[in-house]
C-alpha cells in the first residue's frame, strides 16, 4: 500500500506542476509593480520553502541521532540534506534569474543572498564530509555535529530580511495578496510538496539500503573443497 503511494506521488506532483503552470502563468493577475516577471515567484518560493524546511528536518534528525542513535535518523539526515540542497540551489538560481530584470543584477551581496550563499556552501561541505568518512557510525556522529553547527544559519536566512535592510522583499502575508495569486501559489506549493516527499522518501530508502549493506557482516566464505575431490 505504502509502496503504491510512493509510486503515485511523483505523477501527482508533476500533474500539479503542469496544471499549476496554467494557474500561475495565465490565470493569476500580474503583479502591479513588476508585471509578468513576478510569476517566477510561484516556483521560486516553493523551492526555497522546501529547502529551509528540509534543512530544519536535517537538524532535527541530527539532534535525534545524537540523543538516540538509529540508522533511520542518519538516513533521514542524509536524504533531507541532499534534497534540501538541491531545492536551495534551484530556488537561488530561479531567484537570480528574477533578479536580473528586477534589480538589474543576477547577484548582490545583500544580507539575504549572502546568508543563502553561506547556507548552500555549508551544506555542500556537509555532504562532502559524509563522502569522506567510511566508518558508518563515525560518519553518523560527526555529520550530526556538523549538521547542528551548520543549522545555525537556517533561521538567520529566514529572518535576514526582517533583521537587516535587505534588497530582497520581506515575506508576504496571504491577507495582503490577491486571492487568485494565493490560490495559484498554494496549488504550486502542494505540487512541489508532493515531489519533495517523493524525493526524500526515495532517497531515504536508498540511504537505508546502502547503510544496511555497509554494516552487514561479510558474506560467508565458500565451503572449503574437501581434499581429493
Amino acid at each position: 500500500m505504502l509502496e503504491k503511494v510512493r509510486k503515485v506521488l511523483p505523477w501527482v506532483g508533476l500533474a500539479g506542476l503542469v496544471s499549476g503552470a496554467y494557474w500561475a502563468l495565465l490565470w493569476a493577475p500580474p503583479a502591479w509593480d513588476m508585471s509578468d516577471v513576478q510569476r517566477i515567484f510561484y516556483i521560486h518560493l516553493p523551492c526555497m520553502f522546501m529547502a529551509l524546511s528540509l534543512l530544519t528536518i536535517n537538524f532535527v534528525a541530527a539532534v535525534t541521532y545524537l540523543l538516540k542513535p538509529s540508522w533511520g535518523a542518519d538516513a533521514m539526515a542524509e536524504a533531507s540534506a541532499e534534497v534540501g540542497l538541491m531545492f536551495g540551489l534551484l530556488g537561488t538560481t530561479l531567484g537570480s534569474i528574477w533578479g536580473r530584470p528586477t534589480w538589474g543584477v543576477y547577484w548582490s551581496w545583500d544580507p539575504r543572498l549572502t546568508t543563502v550563499a553561506i547556507l548552500l556552501v555549508a551544506y555542500a561541505g556537509y555532504l562532502a564530509l559524509r563522502k569522506f568518512i567510511e566508518d558508518p557510525e563515525r560518519r553518523a556522529v560527526w555529520s550530526s555535529v556538523v549538521a547542528i553547527i551548520s543549522a545555525v544559519d537556517v533561521p538567520i536566512v529566514y529572518f535576514s530580511v526582517r533583521w537587516w535592510r535587505s534588497l530582497h522583499q520581506v515575506q508576504s502575508s496571504p491577507q495582503t495578496v490577491d486571492h487568485n495569486m494565493v490560490f495559484a501559489f498554494r496549488w504550486q506549493a502542494f505540487a512541489v510538496l508532493f515531489l519533495t516527499i517523493w524525493f526524500v522518501w526515495t532517497r531515504y530508502r536508498l540511504a537505508r539500503v546502502r547503510l544496511a549493506r555497509e554494516v552487514a557482516l561479510p558474506p560467508e566464505l565458500p565451503p572449503a573443497v574437501p581434499a581429493g575431490a
Binding site: 564530509l129 568518512i133 556522529v141 560527526w142 547542528i148 551548520s150
Partner: protein, 231 residues
C-alpha cells in the same frame, strides 16, 4: 584512605593548555611556520595589488584577516596532529580528563597562537600597507582577540573531525571557511573602522556581531565536541 576529588573543569583545562603550550614552546615549529606563512600571504596580497598606497591602506584589514584565516588552517590541523602519534588523545581521555576541557584547552591554545600571530603581524602591516590608527590600541586588541576566538571555536571542532577523515587537508577549509564568513566580515569591518576612523559609530554593532558569533560557536563547541572525540 581519603579519596581524592577529581580536578575540576577549569583545572583540567589549564593543565592541558599548559601541556600544549609546552610542546609548542619546546620546538616553536608551529608558531614559526605560522609567522612565515602569514608573512608570505601578506606579501603576496601587496604584490597582487601593486604599489598603490591608498588602495593598500584601504584593504589592509581585509588582508590581515585573510592571512590569519589561511594560517589558522595550519595551526588547527597541527593541534590534533600532535595528538595522533601514539594515540595520545586516547591517553588524555583516559587520564581521565573531561572532553569539554580538551575542547577548551585546544580552542584556547589556538586562540592564543593566532592572537600572538596577529599582534606580531601589526608592524608588518605598518611597513607593507602603511596603516594608520584612528582608534585606540585597546579597540584594536579587542577586535583581534574576538576574531581569533571566533576562528578557534568552530575550527577546533572541525579539525578534530577532519583529522580522522580521509583527505583531511581538503576537508577542514571546506567545512570551516563558509562557516566563518560572518565572523570574517565583522572582523574586517571592525578592523577597518579601527584603522580608518568611525564617523558613523558602527564599531559597536560589528563587535556585537563578533561577540554573538563567539557565544554561539563556543557554546555549541562545548556541547558537541565530546561527541566528536568519543570512541
Amino acid at each position: 584512605m581519603r579519596e581524592r576529588r577529581p580536578p575540576g573543569l577549569l583545572a583540567t583545562t589549564f593543565v592541558l593548555l599548559r601541556k600544549d603550550l609546552l610542546i609548542e614552546w619546546r620546538t616553536r615549529a608551529r608558531l614559526n611556520a605560522l609567522i612565515f606563512f602569514a608573512l608570505a600571504t601578506l606579501l603576496l596580497f601587496s604584490f597582487a595589488l601593486g604599489p598603490d598606497t591608498v588602495l593598500l591602506r584601504k584593504n589592509a584589514g581585509a588582508f590581515l584577516w585573510l592571512g590569519i584565516l589561511l594560517s589558522s588552517v595550519l595551526s588547527l590541523g597541527e593541534s590534533f596532529r600532535i595528538e595522533q602519534e601514539n594515540a595520545s588523545l586516547d591517553g588524555v581521555r583516559l587520564a581521565p580528563s573531561d572532553a569539554r576541557a580538551v575542547f577548551l584547552a585546544k580552542a584556547g591554545g589556538n586562540t592564543l597562537l593566532l592572537f600572538g600571530l596577529s599582534v606580531l603581524l601589526m608592524p608588518v602591516l605598518v611597513a607593507l600597507y602603511d596603516i594608520r590608527m584612528a582608534m585606540s590600541v585597546g579597540k584594536l586588541f579587542e577586535v583581534l582577540a574576538l576574531g581569533c576566538l571566533a576562528i578557534s571555536a568552530p575550527g577546533t571542532v572541525y579539525s578534530a573531525i577532519a583529522n580522522n577523515a580521509r583527505a583531511r587537508d581538503v576537508l577542514l577549509p571546506l567545512l570551516l571557511f563558509p562557516l566563518l564568513i560572518p565572523a570574517l566580515m565583522a572582523a574586517v569591518k571592525a578592523m577597518n573602522l579601527v584603522l580608518e576612523g568611525d564617523p558613523m559609530l558602527q564599531f559597536g554593532s560589528w563587535v556585537g556581531l563578533l561577540g554573538a558569533f563567539n557565544l554561539i560557536y563556543w557554546g555549541l563547541g562545548i556541547v558537541l565536541f565530546p561527541r566528536v572525540i568519543e570512541e
